[in-house]
């Protein structure tokens, strides 16, 4: 299996250098490029075709939120892992809602950084489910303005609830006594019905609609 190709986007070169050292030390991860703002990031993604983009949210010129929107709109888009100093940053939730696959605190340990990149790349489980729930709670709209969900089958509903708890496909399969392939097809059908590109957005939609209660 070839190494996961990573693009680092941060306006602080020392952060990029640090992350590069951490990531390059892993044999299965490979930093293929760096960018100092969102506009550069979009151009680099086009030429370098990374698998995962580690994206700072607050940057001069084109910020991480805007760059995430631009990146995920394309087919064959890389997964976006948002980098943030503070979890309580409004931009983080907006970036997740806009299509980022997860977020990572800059104070994470090197081990958490590399694990997060692998998780986001695999796309089979939600990164930091508790933090996502906290963010969703902080950004919850009034009850009468919540967007509805399309009709889901009972099975899909069960799968969505377990996704929100951070379970991987294999864990969901074990919980529901189903085959992993069956779970994968439910997930694919869910993403399709909800019109989102990965499970992070699916879970956020589930919270926003009130389908999965926030407590």
């Amino acid at each position: 299996m070839s190494a996961i190709r990573v693009l680092l986007v941060d306006d602080e070169s020392l952060i990029r250098a640090g992350l590069r050292a951490i990531i390059d030390a892993e044999p299965d991860l490979d930093v293929v490029g760096e960018a100092a703002d969102g506009a550069e990031a979009v151009a680099e993604v086009r030429s370098l075709r990374p698998d995962v983009v580690c994206m700072d949210v607050r940057m001069p010129r084109v910020d991480g939120l805007e760059a995430t929107r631009l990146l995920v709109a394309r087919a064959e888009a890389p997964r976006v892992l948002v980098l943030t100093t503070f979890e309580n940053d409004d931009y983080v939730y907006e970036a997740l809602a806009a299509g980022a696959s997860g977020f990572l605190l800059k104070r994470a340990t090197p081990e958490q950084v590399t694990a997060a990149i692998r998780t986001v790349h695999a796309g089979e489980s939600l990164l930091f489910p508790d933090a996502v729930r906290r963010l969703a709670r902080a950004h919850r709209g009034p009850a009468d303005q919540r967007p509805g969900l399309p009709t889901l089958t009972d099975r899909e509903g069960e799968v969505l609830r377990l996704m929100a708890r951070g379970m991987s496909n294999a864990e969901i399969a074990a919980e529901l006594v189903l085959g992993v392939e069956t779970v994968k097809s439910h997930v694919a059908s869910l993403l399709n019905k909800l019109d989102v590109r990965d499970r992070t957005q699916a879970v956020i939609r589930a919270y926003e609609s009130g389908f999965v209660p926030l407590r």
């Binding site: 602080e12 020392l14 952060i15 250098a17 640090g18 992350l19 590069r20 050292a21 951490i22 030390a25 100093t85 503070f86 800059k106 104070r107 994470a108 340990t109 090197p110 950084v113």
Partner: protein, 403 residues
Amino acid sequence: MSALGWLRTALLSSRTYMRQIYLLIGSALVVGFAIVDLGVVGSMLSAQVSMPVLLAVAVPIVVVPPVLLGLVSAVRQVEGVAAESLLGVGFVDGSPGPATTWPQRRRTSAWFLLHLVAGLIVGVALAIVVPLGLAAIVRPLTNDSSIWWYVPAGVGMLIGALAVCLALGAAVTALAPRLLGPSVEDRFHALERRAARLSERTRLARELHDSVGHALSLVVVQAGAARKVRDTDSAFVDGALAAVEAAARTALTDLDQVLGLMRDEESADADEHRPVADLAQLESLVIATRRAELDVSLTVEGEIGRMPAVVSRESYRIVQEALTNALRHGESPVAIRLSVQTAALAIEVDNPVSPARSSRRAGRGLRGIQERVAVLGGDMTAGVVDDVWQLRVRLPLPREETR
């Protein structure tokens, strides 16, 4: 029972009598106005003008002067101090200053009128009703027992006067904060200013949050990376350590700066933020005094810059007071000499005095200097020698400070 208990407490409290004093000040003011009023009204009565004309002239003459006086800005401050010290009113936002707005003036004027009216009533009660009541009680006892009912009537008058005085004291005390204290608008403006300060503070906090958060993230990432590659890439580790050091230093500088700004704001609030002058500012003090056309010479021997801060500050104040004294009496030239000796700082101030003044001159304006010298454990002499006022101060210095 509880009413009696209340009465007992009231009569035993010094505050009750202080309030009556406040009301009696009102009575005294009424007498002042009344002298003028009586003159005018009396002359009109003797001129036999008709009642409507009398009222049309007399009412404005009685009412207008107190109203106008109450509008004077300083009255608010005076009444505020009196209300605090005599009525025992505590104003929420501090003592009322001179009125600065028309609504404040109007409310002060209303308060002043109230003070006068209450003073008039208390004055009448104490100067007329009480003596009458006493006389009524005493009359039947001494000669004519057939008018025995004078006694309860007299007692009633005394109780009534007492009740009126106590009630008025309580009433003005309750009303003082409303008329002399800050109005709703004053409070609103104060709140607005506070809100502006708070939002500024929030902005500062957010900036601090961002800059320190950024620096600490950098520290975490670089330190984590250094740990990860320490066996394979020692050049990176060196760079990472330098980056960590620089980031932490920047963060501390930012932290320091923002805390400084917040502290400045706080002290600006309390109007306490005045730099404390010390001997470093002595030159400017001398130059400023020369501008006031006082001939001053300054001689400094030794390093006055390397002095304990407290000695430096107090020495400055001592020279300042000496110069102020000289300035007050216009006595030139003033010679100031500071010399740093082995274990002491010597301050000498000489200025000529006119013989006529020399006798009472010696003891004046020295208390402040004496107190400062005493606190620092120094000694001093001051007095007139051959028509020259001489101040000699010696302040001890810790030995290592003089080296």
